[in-house]
């Protein structure tokens, strides 16, 4: 897409105002992360030194080493990676199968069932916390990976987006494969999936980021320190490290790194995925 048709018709005055706004806002938006980095690269005593400095005087990665070498941060990062991967893989599999059935197969009650599934859009997850916790408690899934992962795999957004995409694929593909005697799963896997690469990747990355960042559900279902994910664990760091700001910032940046990297590497797919989820772009 090419940008800004109105740019050509704007006066120089507006362009200057816009440039100043852009610079100020960009600086404000980047500054907190840079400040966190500048703090994390100091020795601990320098963070609370009465002499204020924007940059460290003695640059050091000691805080990162300390955080990675002791305490729970490595464990929390591992938990988050495992949980986010499991949530992503299961959500994609479950949603692709359901979307394929909703889009391409004929059965009684299909539209009613689809509408029922879309109810999950309407009701905020927050309203389900109490009964969900009670259920998990009865099933003995408190403080377990299954307990953290499973409630996160119901994704009406993924089903809606995938169904919309499958609707645009000509039915001839499917009919040819069905005539050859392929099972629905086979058709989905070897005919539809290869054609849906872009949208599946976009939704998978967005799901991964969402699961990595999920705070509320792990907060409810996890009570033990070694089952926490990083967003939850980071809220416990005052207990873990005391008020040591270099280490706190190092831990925060380590928790941010995987998702920030995913965003920077897959920028297009991430924007595509988030927009597809709002229905603004297919």
């Amino acid at each position: 897409m090419s940008a800004a048709p109105q740019r050509r018709y704007a006066g120089i005055g507006w362009t200057v105002v816009a440039a100043v706004c852009a610079l100020v806002l960009a600086a404000l938006w980047v500054a907190p992360l840079l400040w966190a980095l500048s703090t994390a690269l100091r020795p601990e005593y320098e963070t609370i030194s009465p002499v204020f400095r924007f940059l460290p005087q003695d640059w050091t990665v000691a805080a990162f080493a300390k955080v990675l070498g002791a305490g729970n941060v490595p464990r929390w990062l591992f938990n988050s990676a495992l949980v986010a991967l499991l949530v992503t893989i299961i959500t994609m599999a479950v949603s692709l199968m359901a979307a394929y059935a909703f889009s391409q197969m004929r059965f009684r009650g299909r539209d009613l069932l689809f509408m029922l599934a879309m109810l999950a859009f309407l009701l905020p997850f927050e309203a389900l916390l109490v009964p969900l916790f009670r259920m998990m408690n009865q099933l003995g899934l408190i403080n377990s990976y299954a307990g953290i992962v499973l409630p996160q795999v119901v994704s009406p957004v993924a089903i809606y987006v995938f169904r919309q995409f499958f609707d645009t694929i000509p039915q001839d593909f499917r009919e040819a494969a069905v005539l050859d005697g392929a099972s629905p799963l086979r058709v989905l896997w070897s005919v539809y999936l290869p054609m849906s690469g872009n949208i599946v990747w976009a939704m998978a990355i967005v799901t991964f980021i969402g699961a990595w960042n999920n705070f509320l559900w792990p907060f409810i279902i996890v009570t033990s320190g070694d089952m926490m994910t990083i967003p939850l664990g980071l809220t416990q760091t005052y207990d873990a490290f005391g008020v040591r700001y270099a280490q706190l910032m190092a831990a925060a940046l380590l928790g941010a790194f995987p998702v920030a990297l995913a965003y920077i590497v897959f920028q297009r797919r991430v924007t595509h995925g988030f927009l597809a989820a709002t229905g603004l772009k297919g």
Binding site: A26, R108, A127, P131, V154, P184, L234, T235, L248
Partner: protein, 292 residues
């Protein structure tokens, strides 16, 4: 589209249900049953671990007369007041800036959106450090020693600013998509008629963008009403419960006081508000869509 196909086809109920089974199982267990249970629990006297007697609408009667509930709702709306309009307007401004500068656009977009992909506690940790009373950078630059999160007047606005920094990128993205859907010819035609600068925004961009702006506004309102993590982590609802929001109150009722029945009633009241707003959104968006 093309399903069901023009040719009459056999029903495929069994294979379809097999494909749907994993989703339906998860949907039933983790959505439908808990949803019905929230309603049911709200009519009982249950604790967090035990289901007990049916008490009719007693929880709702308590709710209506519960000053703590109304205070938490007030705090929730105060937070929404502080965030919804700024987040919508700033999202629009950022999108216009990204769209305007061809070279710098992608960099601006990256800077504005990056915080949105970070975990909530990364934002809260950084905010907490920046606002630290004695060594924090904000107090240093302002030359004060204010304990922002312990200050009745400043705690909620600071939570709001942190939230704006953290989430505005998403609104920017929605506006950007809306901007790029506006046909170029409209601008060219208006320019031929002599429209320049702000007039183009006023007569072309804004009318075209109105449905997106409305959607962004209502989605933001719903998101703001759902606030919990930011205040819970940064202020734990203090000072003097001035930042204790509705979901925080629900959480405390359920998990600290083990009063699941009453917490479910709070949840139901909350759902009612959010669902009403969601439905309004769809209705108004359709109307605006027709107008545009």
């Amino acid at each position: 589209m093309n399903s069901p196909s023009a040719r009459p086809r056999r029903l495929e109920t069994v294979p379809a249900l097999l494909l749907l089974a994993p989703f339906l199982a998860a949907f039933l267990l983790f959505f439908l049953i808990p949803a019905v249970q929230t309603l049911y629990l709200s009519l009982t006297d249950s604790s967090l671990t035990r289901t007990s007697a049916f008490v009719g609408l007693a929880n709702y009667v308590t709710l209506v007369n519960d000053p703590s509930f109304w205070a938490s709702l007030g705090n929730t709306f105060y937070f929404s007041l502080l965030t919804v309009v700024p987040l919508t307007v700033l999202g629009l401004v950022m999108a216009l800036l990204v769209d305007r500068f061809t070279r710098a656009g992608p960099w601006l977009q990256g800077a504005f959106f990056l915080p949105f992909v970070l975990p909530i506690s990364v934002m809260t940790l950084i905010a907490d450090w920046m606002l630290q009373p004695s060594a924090g950078i904000v107090n240093h630059l302002l030359g004060m020693q204010r304990a922002w999160f312990a200050d009745v007047h400043w705690a909620m606005p600071m939570v709001a600013i942190g939230t704006i920094w953290w989430t505005v990128g998403f609104n920017m993205l929605m506006f950007l998509a809306g901007l790029r859907n506006i046909p170029r010819e409209l601008y060219e035609a208006a320019a031929l008629d002599g429209a320049r600068g702000f007039a183009l925004f006023r007569y072309i961009t804004w009318p075209q963008l109105k449905p997106v702006a409305w959607t962004a506004f209502v989605l933001q309102l719903i998101a703001s009403l759902k606030i919990f993590g930011q205040t819970y982590i940064m202020t734990t609802g203090g000072p003097f419960n001035t930042t204790r929001v509705t979901l925080h109150y629900m959480y405390e009722t359920a998990f600290t006081q083990s009063d699941a029945g009453y917490a479910a009633a709070v949840a139901m009241a909350f759902v009612l508000i959010v669902v009403a707003l969601s439905l309004t959104q769809g209705w108004v968006a359709r109307r605006l869509g027709r107008q545009a």
